[in-house]
């Protein structure tokens, strides 16, 4: 198989970070702009070799603000763009993630989470950026965030991230963690013609048509068609709030209208985006909600608890944002309590609490070590006893 091939078809034993890189290659990533940061650096290193070999662009930028500025610029010039980072870099990226949301520029950012806050625990696992993924930049906006639980899912969900980003014109995050990123596991990569690809919505109007309103979303999905640099449309893209022509419109009415549409793009269509896995939930009277590397331990804990006769099930979140609030509401009619293990001090558990009045018990650790099945199992037993 020649190195010029984008899709590394076959069965491989791959590091999670490398699987992210291969997902980007298979998805047709045209530009990677990033900054080295443990534990995501391997993704950049792999792409620094793979992208130029197929004539695509790899640039190591001077910092993460420049990286996302480049992602947005490249995306609006027509490229599929991606970066990879961890907590401290994610914080720096927030400014221009806001710009990506405002300009509706598709882009993918992989966050291999580590111990936080601040410089934190650079080389060890954490899951403490989950709320930041949703609320990190200022203002109201919506994004999509996936949480892979294996290197295989890193591959699959980077591809899905590109497709969903192009489909909905929002930044999409792949919120992995250091355990998954630095784990080596089997990754099966299908043939190139089986890699799904969703293209961006293009305008019906021809370039130069004066009636074209680039930010008018005529379709039910509230996504306007995208135009790229050099295509002759000569559109203004503005980080300021803007009207349907793209011109600055710093007044209350157009501003409210625009921000509502940016948010409703995702909120009103969450059912088309949400993804989760259900294990043993049919007859459960206790539900564990977990994601990422912690979900692997949670699965083991749930299996053990079932052997003990406890009717517990696992809701494994694959798409964390938008949050599957209806599923939580539905489960609340069935179970007596939720257990939410996370390598942070309670982030997704807060989201669960919003949609249920049942007890939500956290199993928390600030990070630095894989969450073992034991604390989760102990909590399940405790809750089951008292329920």
């Amino acid at each position: 198989m020649s190195p010029e091939e984008r899709v590394l078809t076959g069965s491989h034993f791959l590091l999670g970070d490398y699987a992210c890189a291969e997902g980007a290659m298979a998805a047709g990533c045209d530009l990677f702009a990033g900054y080295p940061i443990t534990p995501s650096t391997e993704t950049a290193e792999r792409l620094s070799a793979r992208l130029p070999a197929v004539g695509a662009i790899f640039v190591q930028m001077e910092d993460e603000m420049a990286s996302v500025a480049a992602l947005v610029g490249g995306s609006l010039a027509g490229a599929r763009t991606m970066s990879a980072t961890s907590g401290p870099g994610f914080s720096l990226m927030m400014e221009n993630i806001g710009m990506a949301a405002m300009m509706e520029a598709p882009c993918v950012i992989v966050n291999i989470q580590r111990g936080a806050p601040s410089t934190g625990l650079p080389t060890l696992v954490g899951q403490a950026d989950m709320m930041q993924a949703k609320w990190g930049s200022h203002g109201d906006y919506e994004i999509i965030a996936y949480s892979p639980s294996s290197p295989q899912e890193c591959f699959d969900y980077v591809i899905k991230a590109f497709n969903m980003s192009d489909r909905w014109r929002v930044p999409v995050f792949v919120m992995a963690d250091e355990l998954i990123g630095h784990m080596t596991e089997r990754v099966v990569i299908p043939p190139a013609d089986q890699i799904p690809r969703v293209e961006r919505k293009r305008p019906r109007h021809k370039p130069g048509d004066p009636s074209f309103l680039p930010f008018l979303a005529e379709d039910e999905d509230l996504v306007p068609p995208i135009v790229h640099a050099g295509e002759g449309y000569r559109v203004n893209y503005d980080s300021l709030t803007h009207d349907e022509k793209g011109y600055p419109a710093t007044f209350p009415e157009p501003h409210d209208k625009l921000v509502r549409r940016l948010v409703n793009k995702i909120r009103l269509h969450a059912d088309q985006i949400i993804e989760y896995e259900e294990i043993f939930l049919d007859d459960a009277d206790l539900a564990v909600i977990a994601y990422g590397s912690t979900a692997r331990s949670a699965r083991r804990a749930v299996n053990e608890a079932r052997r003990d006769g406890i009717r517990v099930g696992l809701l494994r979140l694959i798409c964390v944002w938008p949050f599957p609030e209806n599923k939580v509401r539905e489960l609340s009619n069935q179970v007596k309590a939720f257990v939410v293990p996370e390598l942070n001090l309670g982030q997704i558990s807060r989201e669960v609490e919003r949609f249920t009045s049942l007890p939500v018990i956290g199993v928390n650790h600030a990070g630095g070590v894989m969450m073992a099945p034991d604390p989760i199992l102990d909590t399940i037993r405790e809750v089951a006893k008292n329920a």
Partner: protein, 278 residues
């Protein structure tokens, strides 16, 4: 013949005329510089569809929104990496960053020096009005020593950047400085920058009667422009370290010119691939 009143101007073909008149203050130096840029677009031989104009935030940064080209009003200080990506993805386009002194050299300073170092193929036009105008006249990295600003009521205590020296030192292949008065030379410099491959930089000194002139006892824009008229000299071979601007020292001229025009290989992320044996 007396004047004839009309409603359009020959340069209008480059502008989004429904948005004119622009928001800049009477006498603001951004206007003439924009006019020079627009004229350069017309004379560049490159069709409008292949021009892109990128800016950050500030008064100057409002300019791309008025021009009838692919325009991008991005975040404060980040126009250069944004423009770099457009230039990499669409190498046939002529990408110009049109932004202000604070945006490009305050918050954006790091991006400027790396872009110059890499020699990315973009043009950077920096309108230097010596302050952060949009937000009311705060001091910036080019405010002259001793000048007043809204955040320097006793006078600025920081020496300013010498922009042409900085640009040349970090690797720009074309470095020029003109003013809003020297619009003809400015247009020629912009045309040369568009023609060149690599990172080009043009500093344009501009009057800012409201933000800079007013706190510094410069009566109006005309008075500020007359300052340029009286104190500017042209010296293309000037010694770059000596190009500091000092408003107070009447014996030191403002030196204008096209100071640097050299060749360096432009940034190419695939440069090393061509050296790989097949």
């Amino acid at each position: 013949m007396p004047e004839i009143k009309v409603e359009s101007h020959p340069i209008d073909s480059v502008f989004r005329t429904e948005r004119l008149p622009h928001i800049f203050c009477p006498g603001c130096g951004i206007g003439p510089a924009t006019h020079a840029y627009a004229q350069a677009i017309l004379e560049s031989g490159i069709p409008k569809d292949q021009h892109a104009c990128v800016s950050g935030i500030g008064c100057t940064a409002r300019v791309p929104g008025y021009m009838d080209v692919d325009s991008y009003h991005t975040t404060h200080g980040r126009s250069i990496p944004f423009a770099m990506a457009i230039a990499l993805v669409k190498p046939e386009m002529e990408v110009t960053v049109f932004s202000g002194d604070g945006d490009l050299f305050g918050i954006g300073g790091n991006h400027f020096i790396h872009a110059a170092r890499r020699n990315i193929d973009i043009n950077v036009i920096c309108i230097n009005n010596f302050n952060y105008g949009m937000t009311g006249g705060q001091l910036g990295p080019t405010t002259p020593l001793g000048a007043k600003a809204s955040t320097a009521p006793y006078g600025n205590t920081e020496p300013p950047f010498n922009l042409p020296y900085l640009a040349a030192a970090t690797g720009a292949v074309f470095v020029a400085r003109w003013t809003s008065l020297h619009v003809r030379q400015l247009k020629e410099a912009i045309l040369r920058a568009m023609e060149k491959k690599g990172f080009t930089f043009i500093e344009v000194l501009a009057p800012c009667p409201v933000g800079f002139g007013s706190p510094n006892d410069i009566g109006d824009a005309i008075e500020e422009v007359w300052l340029y008229r009286e104190r500017c000299i042209v010296d293309h071979n000037a010694y770059l370290p000596d190009l500091e601007l000092d408003l107070r020292r009447k014996d030191i001229p403002f030196v204008m010119g096209n100071f640097v025009d050299i060749e360096r290989p432009p940034f190419d992320p695939l440069a090393m691939m061509k050296n790989q044996g097949e």
